[in-house]
């Protein structure tokens, strides 16, 4: 984790802190699931950033890939718990290797409560 006071940003990397090989949607389906990621890390990261009034910067680069159901369960699930607008306001996403991931996450968050 990297916290920058100046820009008030808390940075995390999924491959470095969770897994380079993210799995399916639910824990019952397999290892490194979106549900597991949200429950063990993402939820805490989000609350930490929200309480500190900071942005949550998430780096996707370095992983093997992210199944759409993994992203939906992790980020869409976060939006279902905390609301789409607060999540979109706090999240900052970096995915230079696969720019479509950031768009996919934003779409999941926006449509989470549809």
């Amino acid at each position: 984790m990297d916290t920058s006071e100046k820009s008030r940003t808390i940075s995390h990397s999924i491959p470095a802190e969770f897994s380079r090989t993210p799995g399916p949607r639910f824990q019952k389906e397999g290892k490194h699931s979106g549900e597991e990621f949200r429950e063990t890390l993402l939820g805490k990261w989000f609350e930490e950033a929200r309480d500190a009034g900071a942005k949550l910067f998430i780096d996707f680069d370095g992983g093997y890939g992210y199944a759409p159901s993994f992203l939906e369960e992790a980020f869409g699930g976060l939006a279902r718990k905390y609301g789409s607008e607060p999540v979109l306001a706090i999240l900052q996403l970096k995915s230079d290797e696969a720019p479509y991931l950031a768009e996919r996450v934003r779409k999941s968050v926006a449509q989470a409560n549809a």
Partner: protein, 351 residues
Amino acid sequence: MKKQWAEALWKARNRKSALSSLKQRVRRKNRIREARALGQAAAAPRLVDDSHHRPPIQFAAPELLSLTDHPDECVHFFSELYGFSKRRDVFVNLSRVKRITPDAIALLVSLVMGIGRRHKVRISGNYPAAQGATEMIRASGFDEYLKSSGPPPATTRGAIVKRDFVTDSRRAEPGRAKELIDFAAKNDHDIARLRPAYENLLECMSNTHQHASKLEGTEYWWASVFQDRSRCCDCFTFVDMGVGIFESIELNLRLKIHRLSGLGRVEIMRKLLAGEIPSSTGLAYRGKGLPSIVESLRGRRLLARLVIVTNDVYVDVGANRFEHMPCPLKGLLLYWEVPHGHKREVQDDQP
């Protein structure tokens, strides 16, 4: 009464008899061991009398064995092989095959292993007479699952992995997907090119776990990759021998509603891939698996080709070829190609 067998004479006889028996057993064991080491299983004493064994049932493959390129020609062969339900040995005759593609190899392995597992019968076969087809099979990783009498292949360009949800943890395996990606990737930087393949594999595994059988997580899946140097692409195949999309229980209910509106399976498939058929969960954010795979071809152009075969429907997504097959194939086959060269990635909002 005196115990005669406790006397020295009887003890000596007994010792001699025991020693002779032991020597015989050791000799017999050594004979079997040597025969196995030499690969001469026939020399080993047989426990079962095979003299009355019935000859195996033959399945002859067509000249063009490719479900992706020639579905009509070879679907009968695969369908008959899958439908085999007798307790008879099987011989898969590939001698006529002139051309075989990676999807057919993966499907053949999954079918043959499935028959062996279900019916506990012996399965044998031969290689195609055409040298190119034989080389393709031998380089594909096929021999890892089926014993071959020939020498090991000079080069290996393919890998096949299997997950047995029945006997193991019944879970999707990112580790297995990683195995295939690592095999196909030329180096660490090349992994980024294969991201869509990894994502598709995980999505397919999830779908198999949830929908391929009546009981969740009880269906086998197979996945393979083949490096096609002549066409400069990596060919991925995912196969499950489950009920297929159109027989999936929860989907079936929704499909019945669509059928009432006069739509055939081909049209339903179009709607399904376009994400126009909602998830059975009733949640708008679910049921995006197949549409997202299609999107990686159509929208982002990260794949060179995508073919989906399920039940009696064949779809070549890139060519917009939706066809009704003459004979149904149980389960689901997804085949996609990732080009070796980096293609420009297209954003979601771009056409």
